[in-house]
Amino acid sequence: MSANDSPIGLSREEMAQRVAMDIPDGSYVNLGIGIPELITRFVPEGREFIYHTENGLLGMGPSPAEGEGEPELINAGKRQVTAIPGASYFQHPDSFAMIRGGHLDLCVLGALQVANNGDLANWSTGGPDAIPAVGGAMDLVAGVKSVFVVTQHCTKHGEPKLVEACTYPLTGPGVVDRIYTDLAVIAVTDEGFQLVELSPGVSFDYVAERTGAPLLPIPTPSAT
């Protein structure tokens, strides 16, 4: 988990840390499974985030100490968690009212593909033998105010995950606001993918070559 496969760019932890820098103090946040979960380790000094887990807990805390977990205190990934002081439990319709009613500020999700119009595919490869399973992904992207994606820039086979059009089944159309990868931070705008920031040691051309749709440069050129 600590080693980074790419020769350059951010590690998984560094990607999570980079996302955390962009989350405002006081945000109510839902984190997907994988890299998004690591964000809880990198809350910037002086900020407080409240974590929502859609199975029915607002104020999710860290994993319990060894042997102190409870089978009925779990997160959406069905892993045992804790509740912070000030947490609340609630039934599913209330939990999804928080999501679908636009009460959550941000969700951070993984992705199979993101298109340059903001389309997200992250729930199914659509393969003939795949068991389709959607969970709360479609609710989150349809209802939460801001949707961030954090993902490796390319698949394990080196194919771009940022594309002109998703080939996998959509989770939602035009829903992604920002993408954080090992190589760059990219905003989804009306004009398409807009570079916000390059990871240290990464060039614009390096990112553009690995992006499956046009990449607009940073509007105000920096020293790089």
Partner: protein, 236 residues
């Protein structure tokens, strides 16, 4: 005199009939009424349509009911999990039907069913394959998809504490689907760790009011799916 307590899980589920729609509470193992599900396996009803977020794990609880061939159709949001093999195998061989529903839509369909609302509109799944063939409508410039309320012949849920009127409180994240399912079931059957007399539960903390509950059966030390699965238990 109202007393909803019944003496055994077997009596609690005795009248569940072949072809019934049964809502079963729980998200993963949290809130799963394992003892009621096992009683349903013993009882023998088949051809069931089961509504649950998942499809169980290992070969206990809901997974065991599916493995026993009693379930014709699952309505759920996430039919695979760690240690979930029973449903995937049956599904791939075409022996069980699946209606896949986004989790929030599933929760709201159940709530609507229990609240007498036949259908509602939601933004969830608009523009995806899960909205294919469904009616859509624009409100204030945004497209929404129509989803139907969902009711059941029977609901099986688990709680922490019940009184004999059927007022319920739950345990942490085990609450999940239980309150809306209690509303949506024509007959709602509850297993509870303890039963108290009316008045012994503070009305301020009642989560599910007794009007939504038909039968209460005490199961003092409910089993945990993860513990059973880890020790390789298979039911029956």
């Amino acid at each position: 005199m109202i007393n909803k307590e019944v003496p055994s899980v077997a009596e609690a589920v005795a009248d569940i009939f072949d072809g019934a729609t049964v809502m079963i509470g729980g998200f993963g193992e949290a809130g799963s009424p394992i003892e009621l599900i096992h009683a349903l396996i013993d009882q023998g009803a088949s051809g069931l349509t089961v509504v649950n977020n998942n499809t169980g794990s290992g070969e206990v609880g809901l997974a065991a009911l599916i493995k026993a061939g009693r379930v014709a159709k699952m309505i759920c949001s996430y039919p695979r999990s760690m240690n979930s093999t029973v449903f995937p195998e049956l599904y791939r061989s075409g022996k069980i039907e699946l209606e896949l529903v986004p989790q929030g839509t599933l929760a709201e369909r159940i709530r609507a069913g229990g609240a007498g609302i036949p259908a509602f509109y939601t933004a969830t799944a608009v523009g995806t394959m899960l909205a294919d063939g469904k009616e859509t409508r624009e409100f204030e410039g945004q497209t929404f998809v129509m989803e139907r309320g969902l009711k059941a012949d029977f609901t099986l849920i688990k709680c922490r504490k019940a009184d004999t009127y059927g007022n319920l409180i739950f345990n942490k994240t085990a609450r999940n689907f239980a309150p809306p399912m209690a509303m949506a079931g024509a007959v709602t059957i509850v297993q509870t760790e303890c039963v108290v007399a009316p008045g012994d539960m503070d009305p301020e903390i009642v989560v599910t009011p007794g009007i939504f509950v038909n039968r209460v059966v005490q199961v003092p030390n409910p089993q945990h799916e993860s513990v059973l699965v880890a020790s390789g238990v298979s039911y029956p």
